[in-house]
């Protein structure tokens, strides 16, 4: 174990991020292929993206049409049975992928951008700006997310736009803090002083000089946020705070809970969308976990023999 842990003392994150070259994408792909967790996560996410784009290929039934028998068990016609209203659960699940994935990706992307701007600006500008932005971050970090989400969602008209706005507003803080500390470690670097001496604007330095060097941390932020957003979006919809006419896994769960799916012996109706949310969350988490390992060699699984020979 000592060979691997000593490597921890070298700067962790820049191993991947720091060097700029044309083949960044190629290296990234190779890193994913070499890590089993990352490969599994990537496959999960690819499947979900394909389902979101082409749901009709697999699920031919109209997900909204209440034309079948009610509360049917799984069968060849209805792989996961039907709802209390007689809709096909499998079809709902497949068609629900799209909006669920869109909300997750949009929220995670927006929140990552916010955390990036706030975190890096705080770190680079420093002084009063840093103190006020850090205070703002700390406040958002402490105020419990779900209660705040519930209050905000109760006042706004239900729907995906509301979902995106409230989730973005409440989820950026943790990543902003991480990006700030990474930004602080970059602050004294020569290339930043050089840019400053050249007379570049602060915004130029932040967006063109600093942020590109943090790519791997930013991708990790996005992945970490996605894990969290999938669950929270579904949780809010499960509580009935989404738009119940929109087809997502969260609203499916809501109807299943309201319809007493488990008690009625129609378990798949409730468990399938729940499992789907878990599946998507696990996909993002696996890639994220592997990303930690790729970025921070100290956390990689120890393979004793190989570690000895390469060291």
């Amino acid at each position: 174990m000592s060979t691997a842990t000593i490597a921890a003392e070298t700067e962790p994150i820049e191993v991947v991020a720091g060097t700029r070259s044309q083949s960044a994408f190629a290296r990234f792909t190779r890193a994913i292929l070499r890590n089993r967790k990352a490969s599994a996560g990537t496959v999960i996410l690819l499947i979900l993206v394909l389902l979101a784009i082409f749901p009709g290929v697999i699920a031919r039934d109209d997900p909204e049409a209440a034309i079948y028998g009610q509360n049917l068990g799984p069968s060849a016609q209805h792989l996961l049975g039907t709802t209390q209203l007689g809709q096909d659960v499998f079809s709902q699940l497949i068609w629900g992928t799209r909006l669920t994935l869109i909300v997750t990706v949009v929220v995670s992307a927006l929140a990552t951008v916010i955390s990036m701007v706030i975190g890096v600006s705080a770190a680079y500008i420093g002084g009063l700006t840093d103190r006020s932005l850090s205070l703002l971050t700390d406040i958002f970090l402490i105020i419990p997310t779900l209660p705040l989400l519930i209050v905000l969602a109760s006042y706004l008209p239900p729907g995906s736009v509301t979902m995106i706005v409230v989730l973005t507003l409440t989820s950026w803080a943790f990543q902003a803090r991480q990006l700030r500390s990474q930004g602080l470690s970059l602050r004294a670097r020569d290339f930043l002083s050089a840019a400053k001496v050249r007379g570049e604007r602060t915004s130029y330095i932040i967006f063109v000089e600093i942020i590109p060097t943090m790519t791997s941390l930013i991708v990790a932020s996005f992945l970490g946020l996605s894990v969290f957003v999938v669950g929270f979006a579904a949780g809010l919809q499960f509580l009935g705070l989404g738009n119940s006419t929109e087809l997502t896994w969260g609203t499916m769960l809501y109807y299943a809970q309201q319809g007493g799916a488990l008690e009625a012996g129609n378990a798949w109706w409730a468990l399938a969308p729940g499992a789907a949310v878990a599946f998507m969350g696990a996909g993002f988490a696996l890639v994220n976990y592997a990303f930690d390992e790729i970025g921070n060699p100290a956390l990689r699984p120890v393979r004793k023999r190989r570690a000895r020979t390469t060291a």
Partner: protein, 323 residues
Amino acid sequence: MKYVSRRVGLFLITLWAALTVNFIIPRVMPGNEATAVLATFRDVNPAALHALQIEFGVNVHQNILLTYVQYIGNCLTGQFGLTAQRVPVLTEIISKLPWTLGLVGVTTIIAFAIGTLVGVLGAWRRGGKLDGLLPPMLFIVASFPVFFVGLLLLYVFAVTLNWLPLSSNYSIGLEPSLSLSFIGDVLVHAVLPGLSLVVVTAGLWIYSMRNNMITTLAEDYVKMGRAKGLRSWRIMVDYAARNAILPNLTGFAMQLGYVLGGSILVEYTFSYPGLGYLFYTSTTDHDLPLMQALFLVYTLAVLVCVLLADLATAGLDPRTRDA
């Protein structure tokens, strides 16, 4: 002492921010939900009605700053008005509080203990059986939404096996008392909601504890300990784990917001009548005074725990005392 005063400062500022957010939300949101809700309150006593009008800014023809000051005063003295059922909000909250406090308190302690233990042992024996199996598994489970774990447990243990009750906090018809049978009944009802919370949160602790521990084990003072020929148990506990646990202590309080959020969903899944279930019913009943007071209660709970964790850190970590 500078550290402590700075943390107390953050406590006060965040409390103020939460109160202010709570004041602003009903005023800036589109639509006039608050007016509609308060219109149903015509027949209640004037003092309570006035408190509600101040909170929501309905029919208050006075300076907004003065209203704000009155609102803060009302919140600090616990005057949150009445619920839709005309019960004082504070009374309603206090009656449900013990259920949530018991559920979240006990499960958080269990999850933290399991997480710390597995994290420490896993990092100590890197690549061992425990380390290869539990951390990755629980990390994936931690990415599962808590309500899915809840539904799954509900399906397996309550619906299929019929071992444990489906919902609620104690059996219908039972009179709350301190008798053994009643306490047993309460515990039996708390197993599934509690287990859902433990399963989902333990992974987070394992993950962060393991990572802290790995970083700490690479420190020179650990090598020093080995060089001195100390027993490995001592190095693991006194040298490494003691330092690795510090960041987790702060994380503990921060994660509490997440755990409380999870408990709302769990209480809803199991119809467990604590604050979380009350929160849910307040949204379906459009009981805005109750909902907003609950938001403040949840925020205050997290704030108090963050402050306690900070004080504990100050006590355990000498570096914070002179920083």
